[in-house]
């Protein structure tokens, strides 16, 4: 076992443990902090996969912006710690469905082969050209229309959030 595999195993164990904590913690704040831990582990994996810009975006947007928003709402709503029954009645059925989903995904991964157009971007290209430049070049040429549509999506989200949170329009 080389050092990279060992590092992957440790970080993956932390990610899965904090993922379990997200769904088992009684206090929503603890769940939110465990989710931040999972996001940081995923950022580590992005660095290992030669995608440093994605790791930066993961930390800034997810762990920074979205989780701050969620924690802010938890504190604003003053959600009490759930007393006694914290799960719904369908714990057994839900667990069975989740385990089935997991086995299905494993079967799919083991029995399928990967296809797709091979590009020529490897670690050397990312090192020499720069990841941000590669992303930017793809985003503003091939994906220009989806990028513009994204701005409309964000505008709709802003207007929707303001209208929903207002008492009287």
């Amino acid at each position: 076992m080389d050092i990279q595999t060992l590092f992957f195993a440790v970080v993956a164990a932390v990610a899965i443990l904090s993922g379990i904590l997200v769904i088992t913690c009684r206090n929503p704040i603890n769940s939110a902090l465990s989710l931040v831990m999972t996001f940081f582990c995923l950022a580590t994996f992005y660095v290992m996969l030669d995608a440093p810009f994605m790791a930066a975006i993961q930390v800034i947007v997810y762990a920074g912006a979205i989780m701050v928003l969620i924690i802010f709402v938890i504190m604003l709503l003053n959600v009490r710690v759930e007393s006694g029954k914290k799960y719904t009645h369908g714990v057994l059925i839900g667990s069975i469905m989740a385990v089935l989903l997991l086995f299905e995904a494993f079967y799919f991964l083991n029995r399928s082969s990967l296809t797709g157009a091979r590009g020529m971007i490897d670690a050397n290209v990312v090192q020499n050209v720069g990841h941000v430049e590669l992303i930017g070049r793809a985003m503003y040429t091939d994906f220009l229309l989806p990028f513009e549509i994204t701005s409309i999506l964000l505008l709709v989200a802003i207007i929707g959030a303001v209208i929903l949170a207002k008492k009287k329009i």
């Binding site: 990279q4 595999t5 993956a12 990610a15 899965i16 993922g19 997200v22 769904i23 929503p28 769940s31 939110a32 989710l35 999972t38 995923l42 994996f45 992005y46 996969l49 995608a51 994605m54 993961q58 947007v61 997810y62 912006a65 979205i66 928003l69 969620i70 709402v73 709503l77 959600v79 759930e82 914290k86 799960y87 719904t88 369908g90 059925i93 667990s95 989740a98 385990v99 989903l101 494993f106 991964l109 990967l114 797709g116 091979r118 590009g119 020529m120 971007i121 490897d122 590669l134 992303i135 793809a138 985003m139 091939d142 964000l154 989200a157 802003i158 959030a161 303001v162 929903l164 949170a165």
Partner: protein
Amino acid sequence: MLTHHSYLILSAILFSLGALGVLIRRNAIIIFMCIEMMLNSVNLAFVSLSKYLGNIDGQIFVFFIMTVAAAEAAVGLALMIAFYNNRESVEVEDLNVMKW
């Protein structure tokens, strides 16, 4: 040996954990966080396959998924605040206004 397969398996495990949380928890905010976790596991699969194929397009998709997650966070949390103003609760069992 560390291949893309390890990352895909980790992504499947995280996705199942998120689905489990959505199915068994009753607090709407925790369900929301579990949905975020599922989106993140899909992002991990995208980035690992992007590295495997040597193609940058998967990472562009990750960018768009993050945008959708941000929009979803804004609208979903606004919905939760509006619901809390009505019912003083964020538990999904109280979400029965439209139940016949």
